[in-house]
Amino acid sequence: MAEVRIRDVRKSFGHVEVIHGVSVDIADGEFVVLVGPSGCGKSTLLRMIAGLERISDGQILIGDRVVNQVPPKERDVAMVFQNYALYPHMKVYDNMAFSLKLRGADVGDLDARVRRAADILGLTALLDRFPRQLSGGQRQRVAMGRAIVRDPQVFLFDEPLSNLDAKLRVQMRTEIKELHQRLTTTSVYVTHDQIEAMTMADRIVVMHDGIVEQIGEPLELYDNPRNTFVAGFIGSPAMNFVRGTVRANGGPGRLEAGEGVSFPLGDGWSAHDGRPVVYGIRPEHLVMAEPGQPAVDGEIAVVEPTGAETLLVSRIAGAEFQAVFRERHAFRPGERVALAPLLDKVHLFDAETGQHL
């Protein structure tokens, strides 16, 4: 096991720079998730850690060793690919034993390690099968088994659950997390699914357009997003945003959003009086307004009950707002509804830079 340090790493393909100086310190035994929309450079960064892509500038250290020039096989990392990359012509056992065979491992030791990994993942009964005879979840497990067998310093996961159906994905998510708790090997996990990131990570690295937007523990990112990108990316359903101008007028302020609509603000925003901002509120932080409570009026557009909770989409000042209720209300499309934002949960971002105020 080892820590991974990424120092101001850049990557260019030809003249196009796709990663613009990324620095992340991953502690020994930590489970770090790189998350971001497609094309943000998260997979490229992972492939650079694995040694499959050359590092254009900066350094990557695994343990105390700079690995920029070290070929993949000497980095002591194991990688799980999105399409599993199982060798189709080898049985499960041989797939898992392949790397040990290449290293010339002692036959008894090799067998013991393969069987132990198979035991951990519940693959013992499948060792004699070919990959084509396995289901998606089983293949995924073999891919992980192949990584475990090697007992590497770092596990790398490249969107390993994307090819599975929704139910299996949730199950495998739990399995991977359990596995990490058991093996405590440093892991770097790439996904575009923020739920996967939130549920699995010790720390999340949010990437966007080749830079790191924010690094932090899942709930820290959720509660204190540094900018509008992180605020909008983390959390499902996503945070509601509306542009407007802060009006403090002494006491509790409000946000003028145009069309005569204003959103209530708490105390302490007077310093930003007159400033154009983006106002953000999460769907679960909108409640039904009590009489006399500062609220905002909207027209119900869509009601989506999921059983446990109800998602309400309403139109306010020309924009769609989502609100989530755990209690049941008799909403009907077309009716008007008064929603009160929880004032201490409101986020304000600079309208120009998107930075949290």
Binding site: M79, F81, A85
Partner: protein, 296 residues
């Protein structure tokens, strides 16, 4: 026509090849065309076989039914095998075809892998150039090649053919294998790279086992081409004991304007047997290789 409305509805719902279900239709749409093809394709073999077992007097007697043989004989085969160098020609052809095929496939595998998988400037360009080489017709190429063969003192030896056939075989085999290698997912090789395999190990332990059908079809192609090749074999070989079957049958069994039809046809028929055997063993691989490598 079936006028039952319920049946009509059922037919409307049916899709794909269901129209082939009734026997008369199948007769017209499937078996009849196949029969036509078979007749066209197999007739030359029938004619060869027939001629090779007809006694000479039957061959020239125009009053007899030309489609049948009255008094079959194996005299022509006997003559061919005992009185001519036919077994030697057969051996020559086999030696040349097998060696040239092995050489070409070995070279093509490495060339195709390098072009498809190793990143270097101009790899695509090299692939294009190789295919361009394939487009140069052998009937033009044999003149400069004849000079080369002479210079190296290879004239009239099997090596003259073993070393010149790859000039036709490598370009095509390389192209065929390039397409095949491209269909093997990158991740497999990257995974092997992380697992600790060298390039050579990736080629021998991952790529080649997955490419067996592709290699077989390239091999069949190369073998068939070598076996049937005529112009190089005609130009580069002069003595009877070094000739290959296609050339020898024609040059040794035709004396001036006298065609020894019986032995000629016997020689042609025996000459096509090895190719038939090769095809019959590998036909499934040959077909499956046309549809890509890795199916998960």
């Amino acid at each position: 026509m079936n006028t039952n409305p319920a049946a009509e509805v059922a037919r409307d719902d049916s899709e794909g090849m269901d129209y082939l279900v009734s026997l008369p239709r199948r007769m017209v749409t499937v078996y009849l065309p196949i029969l036509c093809f078979l007749i066209v394709l197999l007739f030359p073999f029938y004619w060869m076989g027939l001629t090779s077992i007809k006694p000479n007097d039957e061959l020239i007697d125009r009053s007899l039914n030309p489609w049948w043989v009255v008094d079959p004989t194996i005299a022509h085969y006997y003559h061919l095998i005992v009185n001519t160098d036919y077994p030697v020609w057969m051996w020559n052809t086999m030696l040349v075809a097998v060696t040239a095929t092995l050489l070409s496939i070995a070279a093509s595998v490495m060339a195709a892998y390098a072009i498809v998988r190793i990143r270097y400037a101009g790899s695509r360009w090299v692939g294009g150039m190789i295919f361009l080489a394939y487009l140069v017709p052998p009937s033009i190429l044999f003149i400069p090649l004849a000079l080369v063969v002479f210079q190296y003192g290879l004239f009239d030896s099997p090596m003259a053919l073993i070393l010149t056939y790859p000039t036709i075989l490598i370009p095509f085999s390389t192209w065929l294998l390039m397409g095949y290698f491209k269909s093997i997912p990158y991740e497999l090789e990257e995974c092997a790279l992380i697992d600790g395999a060298s390039r050579w190990q990736i080629l021998t332990r991952i790529v080649l086992p997955l490419s067996v059908p592709g290699i077989i079809s390239a091999g069949i192609f190369a073998f068939t081409l070598c076996w049937n090749e005529f112009i190089y074999a005609l130009v580069f070989i002069s003595s009877s004991e070094n000739k290959t079957v296609p050339v020898a049958v024609l040059s040794e069994l035709v004396e001036g304007d006298i065609y020894h039809w019986g032995p000629l046809m016997a020689g042609a028929l025996l000459g096509s047997v090895p190719v038939c055997i090769v095809y019959s063993f590998f036909v499934e691989h040959y077909v499956s290789s046309m549809t890509g490598a890795v199916k998960e």
